[in-house]
Amino acid sequence: MAELLWLIPALPFAGALLLVLLGSRLPRALVTTIGVGSVGISAAVTLLLGIEYLSESPAFYHQVVWNWFNVAGFSPSVAFHLDALSMVFIFVITFVGFLIHVYSTEYMAHDPDYARFFACMNLFVGSMLVLVMADNLLLLYLGWEGVGLCSYLLIGFWYKEKANGYAARKAFIITRVGDTAMAIGLFMLFQTFGTLHIQTISTEAVQVWDTDARMAVIIAFLLLGGAVGKSGQLPLQTWLPDAMAGPTPVSALIHAATMVTAGVYLIARMHVIFELAPGAMMAVAVIGAITLLLAGCAALTQYDLKRVLAYSTISQIGYMFLALGVGAWSAGVFHFMIHAFFKALLFLCAGAIILALHHEQDMRRMGGLQKKLPIVFWTFLIGAASLAAVPLVSAGFYSKDQILWLQLAGENGNIWLYLAGLLGAFITSIYTFRMVFLTFYGESKTHVGHQPTMAIKLPLIILAVLSLVGGFIELPHNFGHVVLFSDFLSPILPTISVVPDFNRYEWMLQLLAAVVSLSGIFIAYLIYLKKPDLRASLHRSETAMAVHRFWHSGWGFDKLYDTLLVRPYVFLAKVNKDDVIDSFYTFLTRLAEAFHDLFSDSQTGLVRNYVMGIVVGAIMILTITIFL
């Protein structure tokens, strides 16, 4: 079975190629079959491989497809490496990806660029699979840039709208900042190890560097730069809310479930280097903590349904970074998986609502949808519960609780990080249920046009089930003690050791987390449903409104970057419009023209003058031979 490894990314690529070349000429049914089918078969192969992997439990599967190139001893191969960590990621990518593809057939049904959409989506899935299956960092970087390209293409999918193109460019350019840092990190890794093979680097790094070695710290920070850019963390998070300009399935697949978590994958994959650089680890955790708070506050004030979800994604990835930063590797990856389920679910629900309300995204004009879109309501409620970490029933509770618990109990734990996470959880449950109450309760404001059909309902239901039961594969040890997931990952990612004294407090902390989550929901209920006066008084207060505006603009980061970077750059560009350096070349052309005029004057058309020229030349040559 392991020799089928290459099929997993190859199938989506083949689908993309077919659709790019022939897409516009094929009938829609065939486009659907190719677009959805390629990812579907890829998911089936993944399933087969996964079953075999679980039954055989080898360390990893490895397959060299071909040697990419060979230059001066540097010969990266196109080779795939499948271990437990990759397994988790490809499962999420292919299965969630498949569900979103199915959903898209309905969502994009009336779009004239149906084939282009599926071509980009397939290309994205292929690139993402290459990213997580690559056995060397160069191939990983290829996938990394590939998903960036697809993100650009899909954010700007409706390119006729100027703002969409702008959002696409913004996403592309900001992530490029991180990618540049990452590329430099890769160069330094290559300089040190002479290879970019991940396994080799992981085994050799421990021998080459001591803990806190300067080189290791620098490389870890550079890789972190790449991860921060891709995952929309502080300070490169501003692109993600604007990325919602793309179609909703794109937001679900790329900007919630898979691509934005590539940073998490990178850090988890290179965990050996990060462990050698405690400073970088701390930075990961701190960035995660700050990001989750900032993004949570920003999410509280958004009116656009998708923007709330976008900020929520940033915030949840902040949780994953928080987990990774304290060395709780498997907790971070676990939260990634659960987040992929419930955030994809929430986005798809949002898409169904937007479709039903004739592309209305403003929550102030929604409401009362509880009765009109029952399936969407229930699934959305499940997703929201998972996001808000409603205790016991939701998967999100188990994954988030594990992260919070390890902040305090883990060996690198820190009370401040824990408090930040707890506060974040509180904010999360407020904005999540603000969303639920504003959208589904109250009086109806917009006419419901489109009732979701099977292609939309089925992915919603499946994802809802996963969001509920997904958490049960990893339960805290005072409550069931199921450790399927961390056992699965333990050969790849080191397990975190827990300070033993804390074990008896665990139930207290869980209770605290539960209370925080429920009280957040209750506050949202009070403000947005029960007591509209409270909300009105908030609106009257000057300071509250100022804070509201500030958060609504995403803490003013866009404005900050605009004044700090964009305006000076545009100013410089305007000053240098005629290109100072170019004037040198202009001078050269002028000089050439002057000589041209001079010499063309010498061509008089008179034979006498030409003879004179020949004589002068002869005299010169003779003079030279005489005197030299």
């Binding site: 004179m612 004589v615 002869a618 005299i619 003779l622 003079t623 005489i626």
Partner: protein
């Protein structure tokens, strides 16, 4: 023999100067014939009698006659002599004369500066020239044949005037 050389040389130089300075084409051609004859005498004194004969036959004979034929075809008149006079103003002479004097000075310097200047030794027989011509210089002879053939074809082609061949530059000039 030596005196003959110097006298013939002086005649050649004077005749050539007169060619250059005369206004009438026919007069110039007659001086040219004199110049060629003087050079032929110089050849003779240098021990190349066959070349002297060729000089007279081809230069003084064929080439000059050819030019005279063309002059006759062009039907030149007294006005052309007047025009030649007007063209040859003294100011025209200055630049070329200076250049030529510089070049001549350099040539003289080069000739005189050469070490061990010998004298002209023996005469080379025409037979030896013939042997060399059809021995090592065979290829050159053939190339000369091709050159003459090209000359004939070229002269025939250019000399035809049945169809008026208008060059594109002239055509444009006529149009403007």
């Amino acid at each position: 023999m030596e005196a003959t050389f110097y006298i013939a040389g002086a005649v050649a130089v004077i005749a050539t100067l007169l060619v250059v300075m005369s206004y009438n084409l026919i007069h110039a051609l007659l001086y040219l014939v004199v110049s060629f004859l003087a050079v032929a005498v110089v050849f003779f004194t240098l021990g190349a009698p066959f070349m002297a004969a060729l000089e007279i036959i081809i230069y003084a004979g064929a080439i000059v006659v050819l030019i005279i034929f063309v002059i006759m075809m062009l039907n030149l008149t007294y006005e052309d002599v007047q025009q030649e006079k007007s063209w040859l103003k003294p100011s025209v002479w200055i630049g070329p004369a200076i250049l030529s004097l510089v070049l001549l000075a350099e040539l003289v310097y080069l000739v005189v500066a050469v070490e061990a200047p010998g004298t002209v030794s023996v005469s080379v027989e025409a037979a030896a020239v013939g042997m060399a011509l059809y021995g090592p210089y065979m290829l050159g002879v053939q190339l000369c044949g091709i050159l003459l053939m090209a000359g004939i074809v070229g002269a025939y082609h250019l000399g035809r005037q049945k169809k008026k061949i208008v060059h594109r530059f002239l055509e444009r000039r006529a149009a403007s």
